[in-house]
C-alpha cells in the first residue's frame, strides 16, 4: 500500500528539474501523476513516461483512481505525487487522501494570475484553494528545487505579505 513521499504541484508535471533534483532528495519507487486530462490522453502519457527516471515507474491516474489508490496508507511503494494545480490537491484531500505537506513548485503566469514567488503564479481562485488546503491542516511550501532549504517560502509567510 502506497505512502506519499512528496505531494507536489507543478503544471509541467514531470520535467527536468523534478527528475534531476527532486528524485534525489525524495527517494521513491513510483511517480504518480494525478490528473484527469492526462489520464485521458494516452499519447501524452507516453511522452511523460520518457521523462521518468530509471529508478521509478510512472503511473498516471484520474482523481477518482487516486482517491481509491491512496486511500489506504501503507509504506510501499513510496510515491511522488504530482499534480498540475491546487484544485487536484484539494479534491484528493477532501476525498480522504492525506498528506501533511504540499510542495508548490511551478505554476505558470497567465491572464488573471498574480506572481507569488519565483516561477509560481496563481489566480485568485487558486489562492483561495491553497488557503483551503492550509485550513485543512496541510503545510504548504513554495519551493522550486529541494535545496537549499532556505529557498522555500512558507505559504503562511506569503499570506502575511499578500
Amino acid at each position: 500500500m502506497p505512502t506519499i513521499s512528496l505531494a507536489r504541484i507543478d503544471d509541467r508535471l514531470i520535467h527536468g528539474q523534478v527528475v534531476i533534483k527532486w528524485i534525489r532528495a525524495v527517494p521513491c519507487e513510483e511517480i504518480l501523476v494525478c490528473d484527469d486530462q492526462v489520464r485521458a490522453d494516452s499519447f501524452l502519457q507516453r511522452v511523460l513516461s520518457l521523462a521518468a527516471p530509471p529508478t521509478a515507474r510512472l503511473t498516471v491516474q484520474s482523481v477518482a483512481e487516486s482517491l481509491s489508490y491512496l486511500a489506504d496508507k501503507g509504506s510501499s511503494p513510496r510515491v511522488m505525487l504530482l499534480m498540475k494545480a491546487p484544485c487536484t490537491a484539494l479534491a484528493l484531500l477532501r476525498g480522504g487522501v492525506w498528506f501533511d505537506k504540499l510542495n508548490v513548485g511551478g505554476m505558470a503566469a497567465g491572464p488573471g494570475t498574480k506572481r507569488l514567488y519565483k516561477s509560481i503564479s496563481a489566480t485568485l481562485e487558486q489562492i483561495a484553494e491553497l488557503k483551503e488546503i492550509r485550513r485543512l491542516g496541510v503545510r504548504i511550501m513554495l519551493q522550486t528545487v529541494p535545496e537549499p532549504e532556505e529557498s522555500a517560502l512558507d505559504f503562511d509567510t506569503l499570506l502575511s505579505r499578500l
Binding site: T59, S62, V145
Partner: protein
C-alpha cells in the same frame, strides 16, 4: 543518504566560442543555482595552442584558489580541437581529467556529483552520461510501453 567526500572536484569547461559559457548558463538555469566556482573558457578565433594553454592554466589556478590537491575535471568540446589539445598539453605538468564531447546531460551529471566521487570516477561518469544523453526521442516514444494506471497494480 548521500556520501560526501571532503574533496570538491573543480570543473572547468573549455570550448571554441561561446558554448562553454552557454552550457554553464543553461546548467545554472536548470539547477536554479549560481555556479561561480565552475569556470567557462570560451576560445576565440585568435586563440592558438599557446594562448589557449595559458587560459586553461589560469582557470586551473583560479579554480584551485590556493586549495591545491583537489580533483579537477576539464570538459572540452571537440576531441583533437584546440581546447582539448591545450588541456592535454597541461597534463605534462600536472594530473587531472579531461573529457571531450561536453554536452548538457554530461555537465549536469558532473555538477550534481562533483562532491561525491574522485575526479577519475567523475570523468567516467561524464563519458557515460554524455553518451546516454544522446537519444532518438521519437524512437523512444514509440518504444515506450503504455503507462499503467495503478488501479491494475
Amino acid at each position: 543518504m548521500t556520501q560526501r567526500f571532503d574533496i570538491m572536484n573543480h570543473v572547468i569547461i573549455v570550448t571554441h566560442g561561446p558554448l562553454a559559457a552557454a552550457l554553464l548558463k543553461s546548467a545554472e538555469m536548470i539547477l536554479e543555482e549560481d555556479l561561480p566556482d565552475v569556470k567557462a573558457i570560451c576560445l576565440g578565433p585568435q586563440d592558438n595552442l599557446d594562448t589557449a594553454r595559458a587560459k586553461v592554466e589560469l582557470a586551473l589556478a583560479e579554480a584551485e584558489n590556493g586549495a591545491t590537491g583537489q580533483g579537477i575535471l576539464v570538459l572540452v568540446d571537440l576531441f583533437g580541437g584546440t581546447a582539448a589539445n591545450a588541456a592535454a598539453w597541461v597534463l605534462q605538468d600536472r594530473v587531472f581529467e579531461i573529457v571531450a564531447g561536453v554536452n548538457l546531460p554530461m555537465l549536469l551529471e558532473v555538477l550534481l556529483n562533483r562532491d561525491q566521487m574522485s575526479a577519475a570516477q567523475l570523468a567516467d561518469l561524464a563519458v557515460k552520461k554524455g553518451k546516454q544523453g544522446v537519444t532518438d526521442v521519437g524512437a523512444a516514444l514509440w518504444k515506450a510501453p503504455a503507462v499503467v494506471a495503478a488501479s491494475e497494480v
